[in-house]
């Protein structure tokens, strides 16, 4: 399932932030949710691209033969 489509930012923060080791103060929650939505919006630009889905990840520049100078 595409996480971009399933993300409810507020519910996600409530569920995951404690697992990540912090509990946001109420005043921070709106700002975190807005930023999380923004990240997800940016991810939507590439995450469903079929070419992206079938490609192996490259975790830093110049790790593959095609990238060598």
């Amino acid at each position: 399932m595409n996480p971009v489509k399933m993300l409810d930012a507020e519910a996600y923060i409530d569920a995951v932030a404690p697992l990540a080791g912090f509990t946001p103060q109420p005043a921070m929650r709106e700002g975190i949710a807005a930023n999380l939505r923004r990240i997800v919006d940016f991810a939507a630009v590439f995450i469903e691209d079929p070419a992206v889905q079938k490609t192996e990840p490259l975790f830093a520049p110049f790790q593959g033969p095609a990238d060598e100078g």
Partner: protein, 445 residues
């Protein structure tokens, strides 16, 4: 080389620092250290010999570089609990081995997370061309000091454009070398797979000499590539012979202010650049760099976000917290996109030796601006100003910026010179041609 002693040059720099206080480019003046270093050089080289190519040259460094005995702030109060650095960053030490003298640490966006030069702890860096406007960031103070003529060279770091954006908005030359070329040891991290150490300078020859001095193997930096020292200074006057240069279109063609558009046309004319090359995944590249940065920086600061969230500026804190919560599938997807983008760019470099693109869509926004209007498009200022630099950053290729007066107002713009991996020599050759042909006229202090 001037006949001034190193001590003379340091006193002149310290006086210039005082005069430039209004632009708020500096967080720490290292007067005692600089004077001691200058006196040492003057004692060791009394007859005008040089300790190295940067002999007696004052330089500044973004305040994320370690300086022995000081806590490395990285523009944040969240770092205040850290112990003082036990030795200088590799880059600082390398420039001092070449004869340079560190005189100041410079203001920056908190933890390098921003393009504006605004800082909740240290105040905003002001653009020396117009103090009502951004210096650009995150290497804001380094760019502003060079543009103000206080120092001729400064160290910065570039993750998504943090050298290139302020270089363009303040009007300085810059170089972000190939990822892994220079040691990052002692440079406070931001996003591990995107961070680069680099240089901003008022002059191409100083830029080249400084970059050459920064090269060299550092066994303490696991990210540094195994490359020989490849000096660029000897090739500066090689001109454009044999170089095929292209103008990146599509994503990089709009939106552009009149000044940014003029700069691109002028650069293309001087370089006889060919219009046509396209990087079709540029918008995806920007998006994937955004996601990668959020995840890597959020993860880096997770413990501090848990233990002392109040020590972060509110905007940065909430960005970092959001990044720390991103599903891993999005991060992995961004790294898949990295491979596709890098492959597409590598294909272009089979035809072109260099590509040019605008550094920013427009001139510096006013401090406090939330949006910019360019060609009828209203865009969020703090992210859109980096849309052309961030789109390339995942690839790690070397990129220089040549400043240009744009519309001839006091507000400069910049053009990116983008080259294949490890070909900083071509970047510098192209910058030198642009400087010689008057592209940067009126901007160099």
């Amino acid at each position: 080389m001037t006949s001034d002693t190193a001590s003379d040059r340091i006193e002149a720099a310290l006086a210039a620092i005082d005069r430039a206080a209004a632009i708020n480019a500096i967080t720490t003046v290292l007067a005692d250290r600089a004077r001691q270093r200058a006196a040492l050089l003057d004692r060791r080289f009394p007859q005008g010999e040089a300790a190295g190519p940067l002999h007696g040259m004052p330089f500044a460094a973004k305040n994320l570089f370690d300086v022995e005995g000081l806590v490395t702030r990285a523009g944040s109060a969240s770092t205040a609990h850290n112990p003082p650095a036990t030795r200088d960053a590799f880059a600082v030490a390398a420039l001092e081995r070449a004869g340079g003298i560190l005189v100041a640490l410079t203001n920056m966006d908190e933890l390098a997370y921003g393009f504006s030069g605004e800082n909740a702890h240290d105040g905003h860096t002001r653009n020396p061309r117009d103090p009502a406007r951004w210096a650009g960031g995150s290497s804001s103070g380094s760019a502003a000091l060079v543009a103000a003529g206080v120092v001729s060279v400064a160290l910065g770091s570039d993750t998504n454009g943090s050298i290139r954006v302020p270089a363009a908005l303040c009007g300085t030359f810059s170089l972000k070398p190939t990822f892994g070329r220079l040691s990052r040891r002692g440079a406070f991290p931001f996003a591990a797979t995107l961070d680069h150490v680099g240089v901003l300078a008022a002059d191409v020859h100083v830029l080249a000499a400084t970059y050459d001095a920064l090269q060299g193997h550092d066994p303490d930096d696991p990210f540094q590539a195994s490359r020989p020292v490849e000096a660029v200074s000897p090739h500066l006057d090689a001109g454009l012979a044999g170089l095929r240069i292209g103008v990146l279109g599509d994503y990089f063609a709009a939106p552009l202010s009149e000044g940014a558009g003029r700069a691109m046309s002028e650069a293309a004319g001087i370089l006889s650049a060919i219009r046509g090359p396209r990087l079709t995944r540029a918008a995806q590249g920007r998006a994937a760099a955004f996601v990668t940065t959020a995840c890597e920086s959020g993860s880096l600061h997770l413990q501090a976000l848990h233990e002392r969230p109040e020590t972060f500026g509110p905007l940065v804190r909430e960005r970092l917290m959001a990044g720390a919560l991103v599903p891993s599938s999005l991060y992995i997807g961004a790294q898949k996109l990295r491979r596709l983008l890098s492959g597409e760019l590598a294909d272009l470099f089979r035809t072109y030796d260099a590509l040019i693109a605008p550094a920013t869509p427009c001139e510096s926004p006013l401090l406090g601006a939330d949006t910019i209007e360019v060609e009828g498009q209203s865009m969020p200022a703090r992210s859109a100003i980096g849309m052309f630099t961030q789109a390339l950053t995942l690839t790690g290729v070397p990129i220089g910026v040549a400043p240009n007066p744009g519309c001839g107002t006091s507000l400069p713009v910049g053009v990116q010179i983008i080259c294949p991996p490890w070909r900083e020599d071509i970047v510098l050759r192209v910058l030198a041609v642009l400087a010689r042909e008057g592209f940067t006229a009126g901007l160099v202090p």
